[in-house]
Structure formats: structure tokens, C-alpha cells
């Protein structure tokens, strides 16, 4: 969309099989996907469609058994700070305060202390948790924890933020507020975001492009570009039309499977 020379992320015919209790399971087959710098891509699909597997392959937590996953044209060899992951269960370090959770990445990468301090304070105010900077994760609400998890990835200069149903465990109000905050951060920083969700509405609200996946074996079914102007109104007729179309694609697929 913006930088057209090399895609940030490129999946070439990526497949993933693994063994579970002696049975071979095909989690993902033939996934092709190109994501450009600054794009906001949402992946939706029923459970078992391989959307989390796809994200974990890009994160470097899983190796593809077929095909290739590339970042900036180079094969992904393992987890690294240029791809930050935001987990549904937060994955914060419970023994570190908010401040030190955010500082974890920069310290691990050996940034000088003064720079770490600046970075941390900047991101704490970005997520509005100044008053909770010295609180431990168990003292925070789900929404606050997820803000910290996002800040932790941003503070580490990630190019791509991978989000695996990050707002799935939050209540509706908190989720809406975090969606807005995420979009604001995304627009301000020019990040590339890949966001897994099972909510059609969330996908349309957030994404430049929605990738529809289907199960058994998990694969990419179709893609849909969302050109609605932002901030999007979830009750507008054109929003609804897209919702209906995506819903049709998801259910078609389920119906076909049942038949």
C-alpha cells in the first residue's frame, strides 16, 4: 500500500503439520499472503482454521513444514524483536512492574540506561498508565494489562505487531476503547499490524484488509479490502453490507464443510 518495493511479510505456500497423540494434523495448507509496510491486516475464521498457527509462524515460534515465511525478503529463523507479539493472555512478567515490563525488551537488547528510561516513560504516557507505572500485573485490569503488552512491543521498536485475539478476553466497553487506542497508535506510528480475531465486526472496524480463513485443513479462503473511511461507524449501512458479505463467506464455508 505505501512501500511497494519489498513486502514486510511474505508467505509462500506455507503449510504446517504436526503430530498430536500419534495423529497427523494439518493446521495450515498452502498459505500465500503478502503484507506491506504500514498495513493493518485482520485474519478471521472459525476455530481450527490455522489463523493462530499462521501468526505464530510469522512470530517465529513455529517452523513451517512446507513453503517459506519471509520478512523483508529474508526467511524467518525464530522469534526476534522486529516482530512483537501481543497474546490474548497478555504474557506479562508477573514479577516485574509495569515500568519494568516495558523496559524488559530494551534492556535485553542492551540499550543504554538513559535511553531505556526515556523510552519507558514515553510509552507509559502513550498508554495512559502513569499512575500505575509501579504496579504489578496482578493489580491491573485486563484492559490495562493489554495496554502494557502493546507498549512493551512498541517500546522494542517492532516493525510488525502480531496480535492473537488480543481483546478477546476483555469486556465490550474496554474492547471498544482499546480498538480506538490501537488505531490511533497505528496511524501515528506507521506500524504494520497483523491481527487475529473471530469477530467480523472487529475485523471490519480495524483492518485495511481482511483475510478470511477456513478450517480442515486450515487455509486462506479469500481476502477483502476495506475502503471505508475511518473512524468507521459500525452501524452505517455500508459497514453492514461488508459484514453481511464476510459473514456469508464464513458461513458458506462452514456449510460446504458440513455437506
Amino acid at each position: 500500500m505505501r512501500d511497494t518495493t519489498v513486502p514486510v511479510i511474505e508467505l509462500k505456500d506455507v503449510g504446517k503439520q504436526f503430530e498430536l497423540q500419534g495423529r497427523r494434523i494439518e493446521a495450515l495448507r498452502g498459505a500465500r499472503l503478502t503484507v506491506h509496510k504500514g498495513e493493518f491486516v485482520c485474519l478471521i475464521g472459525a476455530s481450527g482454521c490455522g489463523k493462530s498457527t499462521l501468526l505464530r509462524i510469522i512470530a517465529g515460534f513455529e517452523r513451517p513444514t512446507h513453503g517459506e515465511a519471509l520478512m523483508w525478503g529474508v526467511p524467518i529463523a525464530g522469534p526476534a524483536p522486529d516482530r512483537g507479539m501481543v497474546f490474548q493472555d497478555y504474557g506479562l512478567f508477573p514479577w516485574l512492574t509495569v515500568r519494568r515490563n516495558i523496559a524488559f525488551g530494551p534492556i535485553a537488547r542492551g540499550r543504554p540506561a538513559a535511553e531505556v528510561k526515556d523510552t519507558v516513560e514515553r510509552f507509559i504516557s502513550l498508554i495512559g498508565l502513569q499512575r500505575f507505572a509501579d504496579a504489578y500485573p496482578h493489580q491491573l485490569s485486563g484492559g490495562m494489562k493489554q495496554r502494557v503488552a502493546i507498549a512493551r512491543v512498541l517500546a522494542n521498536d517492532a516493525d510488525v505487531v502480531l496480535m492473537d485475539e488480543p481483546f478477546g478476553a476483555l469486556d465490550a466497553m474496554t474492547r471498544e476503547r482499546l480498538q480506538d487506542e490501537l488505531l490511533e497508535i497505528w496511524q501515528r506510528t506507521g506500524l504494520t499490524v497483523m491481527f487475529v480475531t473471530h469477530s467480523i465486526e472487529e475485523a471490519i472496524f480495524l483492518a485495511d484488509r481482511v483475510v478470511v480463513m477456513s478450517p480442515g485443513p486450515g487455509r486462506i479462503e479469500s481476502e477483502m479490502r476495506i475502503d471505508l473511511p475511518r473512524r468507521r461507524d459500525v452501524s452505517a449501512p455500508d459497514f453492514n453490507e461488508i459484514r453481511r458479505e464476510l459473514s456469508r463467506r464464513l458461513h458458506n464455508d462452514l456449510a460446504r464443510k458440513a455437506a
Partner: protein
Amino acid sequence: MSATADIGPAADAAATDASAAAPAPPVAAWRRARGALLALALPIGLIVAWHLATHGRKYSLIPPPSDVAIELYDLAFGGIYDDAYSGTLYVHLLASMSRVYGGFALALAVALPLGLMIGRIALMRQLLDPTLQLLRPIPVTAWLPLAMIMFGLGPRSAFFLVFLGAFYPILINTIFGVRSVDPRLFEAASMLGCTGSVQFFKVVLPASLPAIFTGLRLGLGFAWVVIVVGEMTGVETGLGAIIMEARQLSRTEIVICGMIVIGIAGFITDRLVVLLGRRLLRWSPSHA
């Protein structure tokens, strides 16, 4: 709490926490006094029962509490009986404490790194775990004769037994702690740029600290149990030694004094570990 309006559920939770921790002063004082009274009720009752059962009986083999109290004073400060035991308490206490803490420290120094490695490195687990599990059911006290052969009669055997007694609780709990670290935290660390052996110090150690502390408490408890057995043969000083010696001399009040001192020393040590744990584990909802 002014935070409630703009922050939501966590602020509510924080508010309830705060009010639970700091109620109005008179209420808090009453609550603390009530707790102390309830805690003291049983020991006082036991002492009264002991007194009633033994006081004024000429041939009671168990001395009444008042005799024990006088003996304890004499043992600690002297000036009453002025016999061989008067004023020697601190010598024995110090001797036992040095063995307990020395053996415990050595056990910690060996069991902690070993537990971290067995928990995290499959090769270490395969190499060491079967042997350690096979040796574990052997009661520490059964090692005494062998220890006396290997280390000679005397304090070194006691030291070895304490080491052995504290070793397994620390080891087992450390392994358990490491094995139960949420795998998510390793993923989080590695995507943030913390990989390889650094994860030992940045993730494995802090994440398993609660379990390690449980091991420390159990280990220290065992150390005090074992010290008495270790000091019972061929050792001149130590609380175990005077208990054994006083038994042979039928000075039962000294035996009981030794028991009381061990109880108090063990209790204080345990409190210290708990306090240290509270400081280091402030982050853990089950310890704070």
C-alpha cells in the same frame, strides 16, 4: 478512591485492597489483639494442663513447667544451680545454629543450580533425575552410621545430615517451580530479544521463586529436625547433644528446655524466611 471513575475494574480492586489493608486504627488494634489472644489460647491451655498433671507429684518423671522455666533461666544465664550446664545455652545454641545454617547454605548452593538445570535441561534431567529419585526415599537418619564412617564421629557428620535433610526439599521444589513456568513467558522473552541462557536469570529464576521459597521453608524445617539426630552421637556441643546427655543423666527438665529452644529457634528462622519471601514475592498475588 478518585481513580474508580476513569480506570475501571482494576481501580475498584485496588480500592478494596487498600481498604482491607488499612481499616480504622482502633478496629485494627482490636483485630490484632484478638488474633494474638486466639493464637496464645492453646499453648497456655497446654501449659496449664501440663502443670496440673505434674505439679506436686513426688514421683512424676516429667517435671512441672515451673521447674522447666527455672532450669531454662539457669541454662541461659546461670546463677541458680551453678552446675555444669549453667549459662551454657548460648554455646549449644550457637553450635547448632552454625551447623543448621551452614548445612542449609551448602544445600541451597548445590540444590538450587541443580534444580534449575534439571528442570530446564532435558539432558540433565535424564542424567541425574533417576539417581536422585532413587536416593530420595532413604531417610536422612538412616545415613547417620555411614556419615559417621565417612566424616568421623563429631560435628561434621551432623553438618552432612543437615545438608542432606535440606537438600531434597529445595531440589524438588525448585524442579517443580521451573517445570511449571508458563511457556508463554519464554515466548514473550524471546520475542523481546532475550534468548538462550540469559532466560535462566531473566525468566526461569524469578518465575520459579515462589516454589523455591516453599522449598527453602521446608528445607530449613528439616534442617532443624535433623540437627538433633546428627548431634546425638559423638558431639560435645549443640542442642541435640545436651538433650541426649541430659536424658542419660535423667535431667528431664533440660531435655524439655532443649526442645523449647529448638522450637523457638526454628520458629524465628521460619518467620525470617517468610518475611524475606514477602519482600521478594510482593508481585505474587498468593504471597503479597
